[in-house]
């Protein structure tokens, strides 16, 4: 709205400045800055109202005694009970353990497999565009659809795999592996695309130099490719870890957390506490502790990543 023509709106600021050309520059800068906040504020207000405010409110709810009746919700005073209920419960311990193991295993497998896929694709002389198109299909798939598809494949009586593995979803261990496999199927293509982008940025002279030096493909991979790929892999791991830790859709549909509660993730536990048991206080406590864990992981990653990048820059 504020065009630069209307810049001299504040004559009071004139005596404070000495050199006339600087006045104009500062005025313009200031008016542009005002305009900048004007442009940015609608987005920031929406983000603040629907993410930051709820997060703060969630922390408040997690310390509240929430009373749920047919008429509505009321807050009955501050309490630390929600946390003592949650942190002492074996359900929470199990969900934390399950989510952590799930995250570590799927991310390791997906990054390793994604790197192998990307190495294959990088060597393709033709048809890489087609492969990229194929890889984008699972990425765009609705997770709920993928979960239903795998539940059909794993079905104990008529699933395709029921002849090979008996009742996969009936045992805690095999149900966990089945969930992980469905995740690997859907997400490895995403990791492949990211790693491939990092691979094609490595200058090919480095590979040629390594070959001239007599290194074989395996040695070249460990000595040249992997170190140069580390920043890309770091980003891929960060994205995947944060996403996997919020796991909800896949187990909610594929195993409904079962058998029993053996595949119940932290997000599922939070959701079930809130919407099945209507325990909003403890539910918010589960959600808040999950968010805090994610936040801490995020900060640790950023730290480690910065340190690593800082170490590598002088050598480059």
């Amino acid at each position: 709205m504020a065009s630069t023509q209307v810049a001299p709106v504040n004559p009071a600021s004139l005596p404070g400045t000495q050199v006339p050309p600087r006045v104009g520059r500062d005025r313009m800068t200031r008016s542009l800055a005002r305009m900048g906040w004007g442009f940015a504020s609608p987005a920031l207000v929406v983000i603040g109202a629907f993410t930051i405010f709820p997060i703060l409110f969630s922390i408040f709810v997690s310390f509240e005694n929430v009373n749920v009746t047919g008429a509505g919700f009321s807050f009955q005073g501050l309490t630390a009970n929600n946390y003592s209920i949650v942190l002492g419960a074996s359900l929470w311990h199990h969900a934390l353990w399950f989510t952590t193991v799930y995250t570590v295993v799927t991310v390791v497998v997906e990054v390793a497999l994604g790197t192998i896929f990307a190495l294959v694709l990088e060597r393709m002389t033709q048809g890489r565009g087609l492969m990229m198109a194929i890889l984008l299909i699972p990425w765009s798939l609705i997770t709920v659809v993928s979960a239903e598809l795998w539940s059909y494949i794993y079905n104990a009586s008529y699933g395709v795999l029921s002849g090979v593995f008996h009742n996969i979803l009936g045992q805690p261990f095999s149900a966990t592996v089945a969930l992980m496999f469905a995740d690997v199927w859907k997400t490895t293509p995403f990791v492949t695309i990211i790693v491939l982008a990092g691979l094609v940025m490595i200058p090919s002279e480095l590979f040629e130099a390594s070959e001239v030096d007599g290194a074989n493909g395996w040695k070249t991979f460990w000595r040249v490719t992997l170190p140069l790929l580390r920043p890309t892999l770091g980003i891929a791991v960060l994205f995947r870890v944060l996403q996997a830790f919020g796991l909800f859709d896949l187990p909610y549909v594929l195993t409904t957390g079962g058998p029993g509660t053996s595949t119940q993730s932290l997000a599922m536990l939070g959701y079930n506490t809130m919407f099945t048991n209507l325990d909003f206080g403890p539910g918010a406590a589960v959600a808040t502790t999950t968010a805090v864990i994610v936040l801490v992981m995020c900060l640790v990653f950023l730290r480690a990543f910065k340190a690593q990048v800082g170490k590598e820059t002088p050598n480059a």
Binding site: M1, S3, L32, M35, G36, W37, F39, A40, P42, A43, L44, V46, I47, A49, F50, T51, F53, P54, I55, F57, S58, V61, G72, V120, L121, T125, G127, M131, M132, I134, L136, I137, W139, L141, I142, T143, V144, V145, Y152, I153, Y158, V160, I193, A197, N216, G217, W218, P231, I235, L242, Q243, Y252, L266, G270, M274, F280, A287, T290, A291, L295
Partner: protein
């Protein structure tokens, strides 16, 4: 895999293509199973040993999805929510991305870092408070119950993407437009935005896909049958004891094919969005 020298290209070529074929099968075989099962009869879906090709080929599942089940309503709900949220994200995200890239706004760095943090925050953290707020506002089972949270959750990524594009274009044209006396909004719309259309496509496709596939908030806020979106509708098909897989997959095909086409058409935009994090560092 082992030899990179060009002299052995023939051997490498075969191995690489075999590898690519295996990767393609890894992705496509389950997808084939989804599509094939959508065209099976109820008996065909439950047959064991399974029918590797539907016989007879039947479209009864598609009729059931739109007739017996109210899948058409779910599609409408998803379209309304995704289109509104994407439009809002693009308008607000363009303004904010431009401001954070080009205008001398102080405190950009903390804003950008907070946006990054928000975009990776687990959604479960906002479900309880948003549910209580929406309940008080009377927004449960409404379009706005999803449009606003979707807009808020997708804006950070869109702002990052668009900011990168704004940083990459030349500033001279907008300065001359400014000197010519064009208003700021008009300069942005007619001079700057046309230069970042790839970025707008990228942000748009990402936001639309995210809204189309989102499950947790849609499940929590819009539980009423006539307000369900596609993912919630598909997850709640059938009862606890019987899952009508054929109907469910027919609905899934209808839900998945348009978005797959969208993503394939805008393949370049999607890949640039996916890899922008990796490239920018």
């Amino acid at each position: 895999m082992r030899n990179r020298t060009r002299s052995g290209w023939r051997a490498v070529f075969t191995w690489v293509n075999l590898g690519a074929l295996l990767i393609a099968l890894f992705v496509l075989v389950p997808m084939y199973w989804l599509i094939a099962s959508a065209f099976k009869t109820t008996a065909g879906v439950g047959a064991y040993p399974p029918q590797f090709f539907p016989s007879p080929v039947s479209t009864a599942n598609f009729q059931a999805a739109f007739g017996e089940y109210t899948f058409g309503r779910y599609v409408l709900n998803s379209v309304v929510v995704a289109v509104c949220a994407t439009t809002l994200v693009l308008v607000l995200g363009t303004l904010a991305g431009y401001a954070l890239a080009r205008l001398p706004v102080r405190g950009k760095y903390p804003v950008m870092v907070s946006l990054l943090m928000i975009s990776v925050f687990p959604q479960i953290a906002v479900i309880a408070p948003l549910y209580l707020i929406m309940r008080d506002l009377g927004w449960l089972n409404s379009y706005q119950a999803l449009i606003f949270p979707y807009t808020a959750f997708n804006l950070p990524f869109a702002i990052w993407i668009l900011r990168n594009y704004f940083l990459g274009i030349s500033m001279s044209m907008e300065e001359s437009a400014r000197v010519d006396g064009a208003g700021a909004l008009r300069t942005l719309w007619s001079v700057v935005v046309p230069q970042v259309t790839p970025g707008i496509f990228t942000a748009g496709v990402f936001t639309f896909t995210a809204c189309w596939t989102e499950f947790l908030m849609a499940l929590s806020f819009n539980q009423q049958n006539n307000m369900r979106t596609i993912p919630v509708g598909i997850a709640t098909f059938g009862s606890q004891y019987t899952v009508p897989y054929g109907t469910l997959f027919a609905a899934s095909v209808v839900a998945v094919v348009p978005i797959a086409i969208l993503v394939l058409v805008f393949r370049k935009a999607v890949v640039s969005g996916l890899t922008s994090g990796a490239v920018k560092g």
